[in-house]
């Protein structure tokens, strides 16, 4: 998924995600397909997470991508952010 120049995207996202996932023990690995909801992400801290991601990566996630699917799992989130970063690069 991660293309050239995007090394560490998954790690950076995991770092941001971790503090909102109350059911992911410190040091426990975040499985890429695990349900973020089941790990403790709720709608209010999803908004906090979103704002942190936008600040970290310098992108704005458009309204049409702010849907449940985007926040399904690390993989889903990573793919959305990667594509936004790609757009930013080619723009």
């Amino acid at each position: 998924m991660a293309g050239p120049g995007m090394d560490g995207l998954g790690e950076r996202l995991t770092r941001l995600l971790r503090k909102h996932l109350t059911f992911l023990a410190p040091g426990q690995e975040l499985p890429p397909e695990a349900s973020l909801r089941e790990l403790g992400l709720n709608s209010m801290n999803a908004i906090n997470l979103l704002l942190e991601i936008e600040e970290e990566f310098g992108v704005v996630v458009p309204d049409e991508l702010l849907v449940a699917d985007t926040f399904q799992s690390l993989t889903a989130l990573e793919s959305v952010i990667a594509s936004l970063l790609g757009e930013a690069e080619t723009a």
């Binding site: 709720n42 209010m44 908004i47 979103l50 309204d63 702010l66 849907v67 449940a68």
Partner: protein, 396 residues
């Protein structure tokens, strides 16, 4: 509810507020005790079953009249109005989400009129209504409910408590269930007192629960859905209506006193400052009433149409419901504050005055603090940032 039975309830509430609630309000405040005479009168008048569906023996009432009744009660005794409104929150939650599974309990509420209390506060989780730490633990085919709560309104006085518990020890703190607990289930104890600045009759005491309940006592609907669809909207409407009533009652009493005194040769009523201040408090009252009516009508529309859960998750609606609480609490207190100014030291500030303004002032000071305005404004700010998105329904 027919229009006629609604009118009758309003008339009853108005009469009781004046004759019973108003009569005991000062003593209840002074002694910081539960307003048992007032609650007994509401029970006798059938007002405790307001949200119980008609087929189960209640009034099956809507939010518009709920607000009107709470306002009338708030004029007489704000502690009583708040206990009644919070009871209504609980009964509406049961009626909306457990009318089939807990029909017997709703019938009992209609018959006996006992207070249904709410146990949602918990040490260590902050003020977040939608999370719970203490988990349900399976025991003998039922569940052990063991937890403490720092603040339970009408604690020790309720016949049933609806208690938030984490669904299990291995699930997120946001996976919450609502459990019906009765005092006779086991150890349901009051652990302290309630010596507050105002709202002193609400006896919002700390409690401890350690009981085993049958599995059926746990409502099947996740608490988040109950809270978003019923408990929060009904609560905000009921609280604001109560505060509005207390402020409106204080204004009425002040106006009567001003006219009486002027007629006896006291302060003349043509003072521009006085008229300006009086007109100013009316602006605040009208603003609260208008927002209250609007939110109640919108929610009644959703309820009558049997709107799906998603409709209640709408970001715009949630901001509006939060704003009702923020604006209502702030404006109602400002009315009491300005009345104290307007009436002066003797009629406004002294304890035991016949207008009771000092009590209303202390009571309404609590309004911004319960379900804290700071928290609601922070939530609204965040919601506004993503208002155009589908984020609200994310994890419903």
């Amino acid at each position: 509810m027919t229009e006629r039975s609604g009118d009758r309830l309003l008339e009853t509430a108005g009469t009781l507020s004046e004759t019973v609630l108003g009569r005991w309000a000062a003593e209840v405040d002074r002694e910081g005790r539960f307003p048992r005479e007032s609650l007994a009168a509401l029970r006798e008048a059938g007002l405790m079953s307001y949200f119980v569906p008609a087929r189960l023996g209640g009034a099956g009432g809507d939010l518009a009249n709920f607000a009107r009744i709470a306002s009338l009660l708030g004029e007489g005794c704000l502690s009583t109005a708040m206990i009644w409104a919070m009871h209504g929150q609980q009964v509406a939650s049961l009626a909306d989400h457990a009318a089939e599974s807990h029909g017997g309990l709703l019938e009992e509420i209609a018959r006996e009129g006992m207070v249904v209390g709410s146990v949602t506060s918990e040490f260590g989780k902050g003020g977040d209504l939608l999370t719970a730490l203490a988990p349900l633990v399976a025991e003998d085919g039922g569940y052990r409910v063991r937890r403490a709560a720092p603040i339970v309104t009408a604690g020790g006085e309720a016949g049933v408590y609806l208690v938030t518990m984490r669904a299990g020890k291995d699930v997120p703190t946001s996976d919450v269930r609502l459990v019906c607990v009765r005092p006779e289930d086991g150890a349901v104890t009051v652990e302290g007192g309630w010596d507050a600045m105002g709202m002193r009759g609400t006896t919002s005491v700390p409690m401890k629960l350690d009981v085993r309940v049958a599995a059926e006592r746990v409502l099947a609907t996740p608490f988040r859905a109950i809270a978003v669809q019923s408990m929060i909207p009904v609560g905000h409407v009921g609280w604001v209506a109560s505060w509005f009533g207390a402020a409106r009652g204080a204004v009425r009493r002040a106006v009567r006193a001003l006219r009486r005194r002027a007629a006896k040769g006291g302060r003349p009523l043509n003072s521009e400052l006085l008229l300006d201040r009086l007109a100013g408090v009316r602006v605040s009252l009208d603003l609260i009433e208008s927002l209250l009516g609007r939110v109640a009508a919108e929610l009644d529309g959703l309820r009558a149409a049997g709107a799906p859960f998603a409709a209640y998750q709408d970001i715009r609606l949630n901001i509006l419901i939060n704003n009702l609480k923020v604006a209502g609490s702030t404006l109602a207190f400002s009315v009491a504050d300005r009345l104290v100014e307007l009436m002066g030291l003797n009629d406004g500030y002294l304890r035991g005055g016949e207008l009771g303004l000092e009590r209303t002032f202390r009571d309404l000071r609590s309004a911004a603090l319960m379900f804290s305005n700071d928290r609601l404004l922070a939530a609204n700010g965040k919601l506004m940032l993503v208002e155009g998105s589908g984020l609200s329904g994310l994890f419903g």
